[in-house]
């Protein structure tokens, strides 16, 4: 992946365009492109945080207990009427 910025053509909802332009006009962002970059960066960080939380759960869980729970679920699933 190159560090060079890429030109991207996207279609944006009117209210989001208006908000991005408002941020630029009021000096809260340097450009509409910067608004898009910030929004994507925030999304990346949020998804990383979500993945980290799920990973932490797996590290904290008792594997033996989870295995028993899974076997219990599997036994019930196997007993269900076939679709």
């Amino acid at each position: 992946m190159s560090d060079r910025k890429a030109r991207l053509t996207i279609t944006v909802d009117p209210h989001l365009t208006a908000y991005a332009e408002h941020l630029v006009e009021t000096g809260k962002a340097s450009s509409v492109s910067a608004v898009f970059n910030d929004a994507m960066e925030a999304r990346i960080q949020r998804e990383r945080r979500q993945r980290r939380l799920w990973k932490e759960a797996a590290e904290r869980a008792d594997p033996a207990k989870v295995a028993r729970m899974m076997a219990h679920v599997d036994a019930q699933a196997a007993a269900l009427p076939k679709r």
Partner: protein, 148 residues
Amino acid sequence: MSEDSGATAPPYIVDLSVAVAVARFDASVMTLIQGYEARGQSLVLPVLALTGASLDVRTEDADDLLEGLERLENAEVASLRDAEQAVRLAAVIATTGLDPWDAHVAAVADAAVCPILTLDAPKWRQHSGDLDEPLHIIEIADPDEPAG
């Protein structure tokens, strides 16, 4: 394509109790779900069950956990798509007396003919005969722990 049994495991419909467990960072339930993700077991997340869980645990972490649930490869959110589904949900609420969060789970399970994955089997047993077809229930529990 496999030619053995031809049968595939039906998706599990995640109910409010499971969504709440995720929102409360229940490591066992979350790891169980990740185990099913690794196996390719499909999960359906009725959107109102996620709403109910988010209402139960009002923190940013809880919402992140619920959004993380949706991001699993084999999980799919069941939304309320149109007026027909909205009216169908209202009928399930009226018939069962369930809260909207649970009724959406019941409506999705009933329409898809898929089992409900729950930590609260007694509640579902009480309502399993309320609809035209019986609801099928799969309880998450540790058989080595006393029922509480």
